[in-house]
Symmetry: none
């Protein structure tokens, strides 16, 4: 049989119990989600430590694990995922950083790490900055790619350097002086030099760019700095370890935000960003459901990522998180539930909507399949799934269990 698999990732779905709002329940436990729960009754359930017990997963490491790649082996920093997600064709050895286009004062103080999240004029500045970039490239015999992403975000890729080990200058704090890039090892001296030259030139150039006069007229802070972080070197996953080779499944990853698409590309999955997928609470869940169903015919496994459960947790909005989960059930899950043979629902990590941050607490997991040992769990939720037959597992085990449901699990012995 040619099984069709849906793997739904609800970002940051697990949470803390909330006494004030939900009598101690988590948003997921409090949400009404009849469609998910109906399937849950015929599923095998458990709790997942995406990376490991007691370890807070990042979105990147959490996703690597869910895709079946041990993050301790395959993770090399975030920059490359953002770069891949923005469609940059990385070459082995490329060094990539995330960029925040920011506002820095004349005396070098960081006024706004995100330039008010307003990207007016950034493209123009980058376009006009090309000549200077070429000079830097020539001076240091490197190639430089700067690409704008969503809002104030972007990536910086440098080709032709040895080491990515530099001290990051974005400290996630404002009202501090911006610091010079410092090498963390001998081989990174040139990297620091190139970066400092580039960033200083960018400041001088952007600060005097006429776009920033326009921004001022619009009541906006200037965009005049590139704060870099997430340093990483692109070492491709060996061909024999790419997703299809490793798991013998043709897979696609559907998401709105670049980073998730980048992780998927890194492991060799195809990717698709459906229309209306914004990665925010206003995302079109219907469009995502339709995309998942459409891609099913072409692929064995369709990963679908939904971001807002995490964003609402970071914003400390448990009630909105609960409501959004109910929307996922109604707008997304009701449409896909009968369209796949195997349906997996879990998250890349828990995010506390009380603390507004990722937490290492395990994430609920349900695996629906036609032939299984369905357990007594009736609701997809933290304190229900822990009674499931799968027990407590690691993120990288999920894909192995999926393979076992379609008769494709790894053998050892005869």
């Amino acid at each position: 049989m040619n099984y069709k698999i849906l793997f739904l990732i609800l970002d940051g779905i697990g949470d803390h119990g909330n006494r004030e709002l939900f009598y101690g329940k988590t948003p997921l436990e409090a949400a009404k989600k009849p469609n998910i729960d109906k399937l849950c009754r015929n599923s095998e359930c458990g709790l997942v430590y995406p990376v490991d017990i007691g370890v807070v997963p990042g979105s990147d490491t959490g996703h690597l694990a869910l895709l079946g790649y041990d993050p301790y082996k395959y993770y090399r920093g975030r920059g490359i995922f953002e770069a891949l997600g923005l469609g940059i064709n990385l070459e082995p050895g490329d060094i990539a950083f995330r960029v925040n286009f920011a506002t820095v004062s004349e005396d070098g103080t960081i006024l706004d790490r995100r330039a008010q999240r307003n990207d007016f004029g950034i493209e123009n500045i980058l376009s006009d900055f090309k000549g200077i970039v070429e000079n830097v490239e020539e001076e240091y015999n490197v190639e430089i790619i700067i690409k704008k992403g969503v809002e104030h975000r972007g990536v910086l890729v440098i080709r032709g350097l040895d080491s990515e080990k530099v001290k990051e200058i974005d400290k996630h704090k404002e009202n501090e002086k911006v610091s010079k890039v410092e090498p963390l090892e001998e081989g990174a001296k040139k990297t620091a030099e190139v970066l400092n030259t580039l960033l200083e030139n960018f400041y001088k150039f952007a600060n005097n760019h006429e776009i920033n006069k326009e921004r001022k007229n619009l009541g906006l802070l200037p965009v005049n700095y590139m704060l870099i972080r997430g340093s990483s070197k692109f070492i491709p996953v060996p061909e024999k370890e790419l997703f299809y080779e490793k798991y013998n499944l043709k897979g696609i990853f559907i998401a709105g935000a670049p980073m998730y698409l980048g992780v998927a590309k890194y492991v060799g999955l195809d990717t698709y960003k459906p229309p209306g997928a914004t990665g925010t609470v206003n995302t079109s869940l219907i469009s995502k459901a339709e995309a998942a169903i459409k891609k099913r015919d072409e692929y064995d496994i369709v990963f679908t990522h939904i971001k807002a459960t995490d964003s609402l947790s970071h914003d400390r909005k448990p009630k909105e998180k609960k409501n959004f989960i109910e929307r996922v059930d109604e707008d997304f899950f009701s449409r896909v539930k009968e369209e796949f043979d195997i349906i997996v629902v879990t998250g890349d990590h828990s995010t506390s909507s009380i603390w507004g941050m990722h937490i290492p607490d395990p994430v609920p997991l349900m695996i629906y399949s036609p032939i299984n040992r369905k357990d007594s769990v009736k609701n997809f939720a933290e304190r229900k799934c822990h009674k499931g037959i799968l027990g407590h597992i690691k993120g990288t085990s999920i894909i192995k269990i999926i393979l076992s449901k379609i008769g494709k699990a790894e053998w050892f012995g005869t």
Copy 2:
């Protein structure tokens, strides 16, 4: 106190839930087994991944794990277990293969991988073939042992070669041309040469042997080929890691089929094949129970293997599996239940009686002991044991837990 331990291995005992026959229950869940369940109520229970989560165990790797030997460290292919099980005294470096005595046509097409499972005349052919074997031994300066096992099965051992790394010629398919043995590494060239010479000579000799005229008169296909697989090299378990040295328990393994006895011998256990133990559904369970009780006086731990639960699963007979489990309870378990201080019941892997193949789903486990933390599990079954106090464990952990029940567990620290 001198505890007496029974370790019962029900081969392939775990299964999928079966909606058609048992309202979604597995054969083990559906079976009535009052004797086992009575003891289960005073046991500690759990689920076992014999090799690892998501990995399908073979019978060989599964058994190694249950005996407390990490298969990733100790497994070196199946041939040596079959050879040891047939009583061949292997020497370090010996290369061993499983053999199927088969029927091949004049143009080299495999007509029947098992020569109709009928062993009429095989011993005669092997006996008369000895002269040619001696020639091959002399030509290549090796020693060759060919021994018939049950039905169409046998083993081939070659002493004096370097490498066992050859491409196996038994592809588990019929109506294909039989292929030459090919070396997989430089050092295996001679191995391939010896094997090809031997197999070609066997074909010429056996095909013209008068026994095959008799087989023809009996309406049987000729026996004229040795299909080899399960290549392995005998590297003995270091003396200090043999079962008694490692666990300080004198142990014996009771089984019908050679492979299981071979694994037991490999780790240094004594073995015993009781009369009437056939490894089939017609096996004498009473004889096995009596053997277990008899051996108890001489040994600390008596492993007893029951095969038919697995065979019936491979044959896709869930109902017969359920019935056989009920017979195990009545004929075997009722007799042994009061004869041992510690009683362990589990399996070497799960086998789906729906799919007819091994599956990686965990296997139920119960450990009865006079002093313990008995849990609330009342039935020895997949979806009962998962609620037990032992949780989800690996196969190699069982023997450690047994040691903990008799005050002999490994210490670390003071």
